[in-house]
């Protein structure tokens, strides 16, 4: 029974990674950049929810709504101010270093506003959860909601990309920016939309993450952010189902290795997986091969 419990908590953590990884993978696939600050958008989302609920006494749902809206605005602004000027820069390192700068900026602004002390986050999900086999197997409400939401997000995103004009535009920009421009697609707008969706997802992931692990600090988003990137790479960067699979695998591996191997070494194991995947199949589980044109 206990193995099943760990497996389910791995699935739940994996679902959170998956939602974060979706944001990473969309931005990477379409804007061709690693938004290092993506994890920190999660932290920003959490602080907004925290402020609305704990400080202003608002409803958790209202908190999430405000967080989604503000994170979306933040995502669009960041793209416009910091990343767009560097599109087409001579070195691909330029935008990556800038993204690292944005990550630091957000963390330190949060540090100045909220302080370094860890805030205790009240779960936005009050449901107790389900109990099976005479209470031997209990699944928490937040676990179930997290898994359901991640599935919902995956389905909605897939439909959005397959069925809508904007979604198709995203695919076109991901394939070839120049050709997309010739087809009359506004590349800047499409990339902005991608950032908006990614950031909104980060806010949702933040709400779920802090409900499951209720301690909030300016660095809350950093580690999950990096691990979600690992998940995105594992699944094949640029692939939406890949991000989902990668997230789930990573979440399960992390929880199981924490339980059965060593809680200290679990991070090393997670990163070790990244290294092995990149060695054996650098394009990830569902990724496509890209070769530079000579």
């Amino acid at each position: 029974m206990s193995f099943l419990t760990y497996l389910i908590s791995g699935l739940s953590l994996g679902s959170i990674y998956a939602i974060i990884a979706l944001g990473y993978t969309m931005v990477y696939g379409i804007a061709k950049m690693l938004n290092f600050a993506h994890g920190d958008f999660i932290m920003v989302g959490c602080y907004i929810i925290f402020s609305v609920t704990a400080s202003l006494g608002g409803n958790p749902l209202l908190g999430i709504l405000v967080a989604v809206v503000l994170c979306t605005i933040l995502g669009i602004t960041t793209e416009f101010v910091a990343y767009r000027p560097l599109r087409g820069a001579a070195s691909p390192l330029a935008v990556l270093i800038t993204a690292i700068g944005v990550s630091y900026f957000l963390e330190n602004v949060a540090l100045l506003i909220f302080g370094a002390d860890i805030k205790s986050f009240t779960s936005v999900i009050s449901w107790e959860g389900l109990s099976f086999a005479d209470g031997q197997l209990r699944i928490q409400g937040v676990t179930i909601v997290t898994i359901l939401i991640s599935v919902l997000v995956l389905v909605v995103l897939q439909l959005f990309i397959k069925k809508t004009k904007q979604g198709q535009a995203m695919l076109a920009v991901a394939e070839d920016k120049g050709a997309a421009t010739l087809m009359g697609i506004d590349v800047n707008k499409t990339i902005m939309l991608t950032f908006a969706i990614g950031s909104a997802l980060a806010a949702i992931a933040g709400a779920l993450l802090c409900s499951a692990y209720p301690s909030l600090s300016p660095y809350t988003g950093a580690m999950p952010g990096i691990k979600a990137f690992v998940a995105a790479v594992l699944g094949g960067i640029g692939s939406i189902p890949g991000a989902m699979i990668g997230g789930l695998v990573l979440g399960i591996v992390e929880i199981l290795s924490k339980t059965y191997i060593s809680s200290q070494l679990s991070d090393a194991i997670v990163f070790g997986i990244l290294v092995i995947v990149l060695l054996v199949k650098p394009t990830g589980i569902l990724g496509k091969k890209i070769q530079e044109k000579v």
């Binding site: 000027p85 560097l86 087409g88 700068g101 630091y104 060593s262 090393a268």
Partner: protein, 346 residues
Amino acid sequence: MKKRDNLITYGIVILAFIIFQVLAATGHLSSHMRGLLVPMTYYAVIAVALNLCVGILGELSIGHCGFMCVGAFTSAFFSKVTQNVLPTAPRFILAFVVGIAFAALFGFLIGIPVLRLKGDYLAIVTLAFGEIIKTVINAFYIGIDKHGLHFSLKNAMELGMEPDGEVIVNGAMGITGTPHDANFTISIVVLLLALFVVQNLINSRDGRAIMAIRDNAIAAEATGINITKYKMLAFVISAAIAGAAGVLYSHNITSLTASSQYFGFNASIMILVYVVLGGIGNIRGSVIAACILYVLPELLRGLNTYRMLIYSIILIVMMIVNWSPKVIDWRKKTFGHFTVRKGAKA
């Protein structure tokens, strides 16, 4: 030209050294400031190492403090074990050899998978390795008694040593009581040697091959340059120099722990800030930026609260000003060609 440029860099370092020594001798340096001299210098050393990787090789590493960590721990381990066996001078020299050799070895081992990757992937894998090194060191327990070395991944009791045994690496508590061998003069010598190695490398055929790969890997290959070999060379030298910085670090403090503050990716990014502000590919700039950015916030306590915030803004603004195609065009139009980034001082 090149030669003069290099000599100016050595001159600046030596001049700064003399000024600080005179200030210290005449009692014009507070004890706080005197305590900053060695750290300031080893941060300059690792900034030079990182600039070799980022500016000359053209690959972003955000795990360079991992190599510093390897150098720090292996050398501290060596010094601790040989503390009562060897006199100070040869022991410290050997400690350098050990620290640098292990950092280079790790650079090589990590380089095998990492250098097959490019850009973002490479950056994130170096970050992963930095974290792995830190986590693994934190989990290690090593002790010594008359039977030799004992290892454990659980705790110090598990080492199963004789009563006279001594715990050397105590898990997350790290190594305590490393001999305090480092001083400002030695640190400056190490910095000068690091500069000597990197600046000479840039002006050699290997250095040119490395920069050719940075500028255009496809053309470099078609010109007969073995990409893997030269990338590895640059990466290993960079790791080795970071290891040397680690040796200085561990021999300047009493209690060495593999903490995130000093060896995590946050620390690696702080060094990246030094490199970016000093100019990517500009070795002298890294030294100057590292010294100023390390000392200033330490001296201006009020600034310390905002230090990381200011660093982050510096990173973003510097990158946009120096790399945005639009800003570069604008600068070309306004100031003519000469202000455009000079690139590597090669």
